[in-house]
């Protein structure tokens, strides 16, 4: 994975140029794990996205980023409100943000559940940068 596929790269570049005047799409990250919150924004930045991080679902809901978020990268197991609970919460409030779930758990059963509830993808930690990019792109183009 030393280099991105040529087409993807050009696409990214294109997007970057396109959004130069416009704001880059906001990708919000909700995870109680600090490592994730530290590492993901840099990678997302490399991909050309704006990124905000939140340590809990409650913190995200209380922020002013909910409406601006184009894609939500959401941890499943968290103290307090869990990822799926936040998914339900957003659904109920009709704020349908495309969600990419990430989880450290190896429980396979959780993936179809969240996909069925409308999630774009469910990635098991640790995941590759391309898998993340594909998922985020899918989310951004889901509408």
């Amino acid at each position: 994975m030393d280099t991105l596929p040529r087409e993807a790269h050009s696409c990214v570049m294109e997007l970057c140029q396109e959004r130069r005047v416009v704001e880059r799409p906001l990708v919000s990250v909700v995870d109680d794990d600090e490592s994730v919150r530290e590492s993901l924004p840099d990678l997302l930045g490399e991909f050309g996205f704006a990124a905000r991080t939140f340590s809990s679902a409650e913190e995200f809901l209380a922020s002013d980023c909910v409406d601006q978020t184009r894609c939500l990268i959401l941890d499943i197991a968290m103290p307090g409100m869990s990822g799926p609970q936040l998914q339900q919460e957003l659904k109920l409030s009709r704020r349908e943000i495309p969600i990419v779930f990430i989880t450290a758990s190896r429980e396979e059963a959780v993936r179809p559940q969240v996909l069925e509830q409308g999630a774009i993808e469910c990635l098991f930690k640790p995941f590759s940068d391309t898998a993340l990019l594909d998922a985020v792109n899918s989310a951004l183009h889901s509408k």
């Binding site: 490592s35 994730v36 993901l40 840099d42 490399e46 197991a77 758990s105």
Partner: protein, 728 residues
């Protein structure tokens, strides 16, 4: 005429004299009233000599009459010469020899001297009494009147003599009679005395007899009463072996009526067929030789009832001491019950001995005052002391492990002093060096004023071994539990490891991208590389933490900060708790004293408590699933950790059941977790218990000492066993 008248007047005078004499003679018997013949004859002869002017008068009697002499001769005075009395007597005797009837009335010149007229007068009708001789020299003698007087005198004398004779005879007879009477009286008196004596003797004898008879009667009555009411069968047999007595007890025991069996041979009635021949032989042998084989002894044999059933009896036979042919009494007792009781006792003793042997429990009694110790066989076996030896404390002391001897003696002295019940455990060292563990429990009591201990000594060596094995098994089980927990917590572990891994991968990817950019973002790359290293270390920490928790390691005592240990466990299980939507609240006391213990084992317990709390709340949806973990200093220099849930809890009555759950054989879940937890806490000299909350749920707590007390290792099980319910 004058002559005539003179003659006449002379004749008258003579007649008058004659009449006077006659009257005198006739009056003589009045003088003779006493009838002494001697007096009769003397007075008569004197009277005749005087009246008839005789020269001689004599009397000669044929028989002695009374005491009178046989012959008396009286001579008139101055009549000389006269033949001597002797001559006269001889002459008279000549006369008397002849027939007196033919006697001449007159004997002339009888002695050749002058003319002396002798007139013999027979006494008695036939002269049978004797004769009186009257003699006078006168020629006219005897004149008619004189002859008359003489015959009257002779008659009078005869009558008197007859009377005297009769009287004498009578007297003699009377005397003889008297004598005889006296003699007989004396004899009678003697006889009487003898009779009296005899009577007395007889009375005594009779009394004695009476007494004896009474006694005999009483004895008989008593015997009859005894025989009748005796509980033992009493049978008597005669010399032929036939039954002569059969008491009610025998009737009852053998099922025969007395009248049925009287006279029957004993052998046919009560002796079993198999023994009859032997009985007959023995009986015959005795009769022949008087050599008793069974007499006077108690023997146990078999008897048979009327219905043919045989039963054991105790038999004593004695010979009845009587004259005549031998007879025997048999005392017989049905000992079926006794046999059974004996057998039961034997069996019970055997059971006890076997039980003592199997359970390795020996019993003893100890008299405090005398130090007399009595031991059961098993106790000798436990101590490996020869059974013949007298048990002493010295001997016991020689078997006690040197390290435990002072403890033993301390207890012994305390028992002697306090007289309280004793319970202690110590080691024995056998001569071959083998070590035995014994448990002693003794109870103090007073037995008839004597003070003694009654106790039991149990060889718990095997139990020790078993307990050690159990402890080892528990230890292994706790290892299994760890592994089980590991399986259950896989997701959590994966989560813990995957988090930093995720960071590593993301950072590395970012780093590459930054370096591949044109121009390369070197600063950004350096930052991501740094984060990669940090996450790598983090992952390594997680792994080592897991290894310390789940790796098999011998328990070690260290100073443990219970708060820190609990937080580590929380960190490990947080994801699982979160997944179960458990809200963990912490109340960890500041400045909590450190405890002495095995960190990993204590964390194992905390993990179990957290999991139990989580499980108890898995079905709770009407309230938040709050879990409170709290640490606090406890009394007696201890630290307490408790985990409170708001789960389904348990009914207060179910506390015992919960306690029982500690011993569940389930290989997973709560039971084994609590069981293992409890054993861990006990090894830390602590206790673990559960109490229902005032609200919903349960609080599980353990409390362990802060000061190191030495961990009760697996080969020394805890002696204090706190129960869950005692704190509830």
């Amino acid at each position: 005429m004058e002559v005539q008248s003179e003659l006449a007047s002379g004749e008258v005078r003579h007649l008058q004299r004659c009449i006077n004499d006659l009257i005198s003679l006739l009056g003589l018997p009045a003088i003779w009233r006493d009838g002494d013949p001697s007096q009769v004859l003397h007075t008569l002869l004197d009277a005749l000599i005087r009246m008839l002017r005789l020269d001689l008068a004599s009397v000669s009697l044929t028989d002695e009459v009374g005491e009178a002499p046989v012959e008396i001769v009286r001579l008139a005075e101055q009549r000389t010469p006269m033949p001597s009395a002797h001559e006269i007597c001889e002459a008279l005797s000549e006369c008397s020899k002849s027939d007196s009837r033919r006697w001449p009335p007159l004997l002339r010149n009888l002695m050749g001297e002058g003319d002396v007229s002798f007139v013999p007068l027979p006494l008695g009708l036939q002269g049978e009494l004797g004769v009186i001789v009257a003699a006078a020299r006168r020629t006219d003698f005897p004149r008619q009147t004189e002859a008359l007087l003489l015959s009257v005198a002779a008659n009078q004398a005869s009558i008197a003599l007859q009377g005297a004779r009769l009287l004498s005879h009578q007297k003699r007879v009377a005397s003889q009679l008297d004598q005889r009477v006296v003699q007989q009286t004396a004899e009678l008196a003697t006889a009487n005395e003898e009779l009296k004596l005899e009577l007395a003797e007889r009375r005594l004898l009779e009394e004695k007899l009476g007494q004896e008879e009474g006694e005999l009667k009483r004895s008989e009555a008593r015997k009859a009463a005894i025989v009748d009411s005796a509980l033992d069968c009493i049978l008597t047999i005669d010399h032929e072996g036939c039954i002569t007595e059969f008491n009610p007890a025998a009737e009852h025991t053998f099922g025969y009526r007395r009248d049925e069996v009287l006279g029957m041979p004993l052998a046919n009635v009560i002796i079993p067929l198999s023994l009859r021949e032997k009985h007959r032989e023995g009986f015959a042998h005795y009769l022949a030789t008087e050599e008793a084989r069974v007499l006077g002894k108690r023997i146990e044999t078999t008897a048979v009832r009327a219905d043919g059933s045989e039963f054991p009896v105790e038999l004593a036979i004695s010979r009845i001491k009587l004259e005549g042919p031998p007879a025997f009494t048999g005392y017989l007792r049905d000992i079926t019950e006794r046999k059974r009781a004996e057998q039961e006792l034997r069996r019970s003793e055997a059971f006890l001995a076997e039980a003592q042997h199997l359970s390795r429990i020996g019993s003893f009694s100890w008299r405090v005052a005398t130090d007399e110790i009595i031991c059961s066989e098993q106790l000798y076996r436990i101590f490996q002391i020869d059974r013949d030896a007298q048990m002493t404390f010295e001997l016991i002391g020689s078997r006690i492990h040197p390290e435990d001897l002072s403890k033993f003696q301390e207890h012994l002295e305390r028992s002697r002093r306090d007289r309280s019940d004793v319970e202690l455990e110590f080691r024995l060292q056998m001569p071959d060096g083998a070590i035995k563990y014994v448990h002693v429990a003794a109870h103090f009591r007073r037995d008839h004023g004597r003070l003694e201990y009654i106790g039991a000594v149990q060889d718990v060596t095997e139990r020790r071994a078993f307990e050690e094995a159990l402890s080892k098994a528990r230890s292994e089980l706790s290892q299994v539990a760890r592994v089980t927990s590991l399986g259950v917590l896989t997701a959590s572990i994966a989560h813990e490891v995957n988090q930093p891994l995720s960071g590593i991968v993301t950072n590395a990817s970012t780093c590459l991208r930054m370096l591949g950019a044109d121009p390369p973002n070197v600063d950004g790359a350096r930052e991501t590389a740094r984060r990669t290293i940090r996450d790598g270390n983090r992952a390594s920490e997680v792994i080592s933490r897991l290894r310390s928790l789940y790796g098999k390691k011998d328990p070690t005592i260290e100073s443990v900060d219970l708060n820190e240990a609990a937080l580590e466990v929380l960190a490990l299980s947080l994801s699982e708790l979160q997944r179960n939507r458990i809200i963990v609240l912490q109340e960890l006391a500041d400045g909590l004293p450190r405890v002495a213990g095995d960190r990993v084992q204590l964390q194992q317990v905390v993990l179990n408590l957290l999991r139990n709390a989580s499980d108890a709340m898995s079905t709770i949806d009407d309230r938040s699933r709050d879990l409170l973990i709290r640490t606090e200093p406890d009394r007696d220099d201890r630290v307490r950790l408790s985990v409170t849930d708001v789960g389904i809890g348990f009914e207060p009555q179910a506390a015992d059941k919960l306690f029982g759950a500690f011993y569940t054989t389930k290989t997973e879940g709560m039971g084994i977790g609590l069981s293992v937890s409890r054993s861990i806490i006990e090894r830390h000299h602590g206790r673990l218990w559960a109490t229902p909350n005032k609200g919903p749920g349960v609080t599980f707590s353990f409390s362990i000492p802060c000061r190191p007390q030495g961990l009760t290792s697996d080969d020394t099980p805890a002696t204090h066993t706190p129960s869950v319910s005692d704190a509830a």
